[in-house]
Symmetry: C2
Subunit: 142 residues, 2 copies
C-alpha cells in the first residue's frame, strides 16, 4: 500500500481545515468528531503537520489548528510525503536506502524510476483547494 491510514487521514484533515477556514482555529476534538477518527491517533498526525509548519497549533482555551497558507499553496504530494515519510513505490528508490548493489545492471530500475516520477508528478499537481467542496448554504445565493 503506497499510502497508509496516516497519510489518508492527514489529507482528509487538511481538506477539513480548508473547508472550515472561516471559523478560525478548530480544536482537534471537532475535527476528530467530524471525520470519525480517534482523537489520540489524530494527535500524532497533527503534530507531524505542525512540526513541518503546514499547520499552526495553539494550546489552551480557544486554541486549535489553522492552515498556515492558503489552500491553493498546498499540494497533495507534499502532505503525503511528509506524513508517509516517502512515496517511493519500491524500496530501491527510498531515500534512506543506499541503493541496490545491482542498480548498474538492473533491467527493472527504469520502470521504478518512471513510476516514481509519475506518482509524484501527479500528486504534486493536485492542490488542496481543488479538493474543497463548494461551501454549503451558499448555492444559488446572489
Amino acid at each position: 500500500m503506497l499510502v497508509s491510514t496516516k497519510g489518508r487521514y492527514a489529507l482528509r484533515v487538511m481538506v477539513d481545515l480548508a473547508e472550515h477556514q472561516a471559523a478560525g482555529r478548530i480544536p482537534l476534538k471537532e475535527i476528530a468528531a467530524r471525520q470519525g477518527i480517534s482523537e489520540k491517533y489524530l494527535e500524532n498526525i497533527l503534530a507531524t503537520l505542525v512540526r513541518a509548519n503546514m499547520l499552526s497549533g495553539m494550546r489552551g482555551k480557544g486554541g486549535g489548528y489553522v492552515l498556515t497558507r492558503p489552500p491553493e499553496q498546498y499540494t497533495v504530494g507534499e502532505i503525503l510525503r511528509l506524513t508517509e515519510g516517502s512515496l517511493a513505490p519500491v524500496a530501491c528508490l527510498d531515500g534512506d536506502c543506499k541503493g541496490c548493489s545491482r542498480s548498474d545492471e538492473c533491467p527493472t530500475l527504469d520502470v521504478w524510476k518512471n513510476l516514481d516520477k509519475l506518482i509524484n508528478d501527479y500528486l504534486d499537481g493536485v492542490t488542496l483547494d481543488q479538493l474543497v467542496a463548494p461551501s454549503e448554504g451558499y448555492d444559488y445565493v446572489i
Copy 2:
C-alpha cells in the same frame, strides 16, 4: 511501499527467463545464483507464477522453468498484481475492502482513483520484452 520484495524479485526473474529463453528450461538454482536471491524464497515466488500459468515448471533431472508466452505478451502490471495481490495505492480501493462508509462524501476519493488508474495504466503499458537487454555477444554481428 507499493511493490514489495516479492514483486520486485518476480519481475527480475521473469526478465531473466526472457533473456535466457534460448537455453530452454532453467532450474531455480541457476536463477537464484544469477539474481542473488535465496533459493527457498524464490520457490514461493515461482510457485505463484506457475499456478497462474505465467511459467511452466517441470520437475526431475533436466527440469526447470520456462515462459509460457513470448515476452511481449507479458505486462509488468499483470506480473505485479499477481505477486503483490493488488496494486491499489490505498486501502479504500483494495478489492477485498468493502469500501469506506464515507465514500459518497469523501473529497479525496477521486485523487486515489486517478492515481490508481495512472499506476495501473503505466504498468500495463510496459511489456517484458521492453526490459530485456539486447543479448550479449551478438552486437554488430550480421
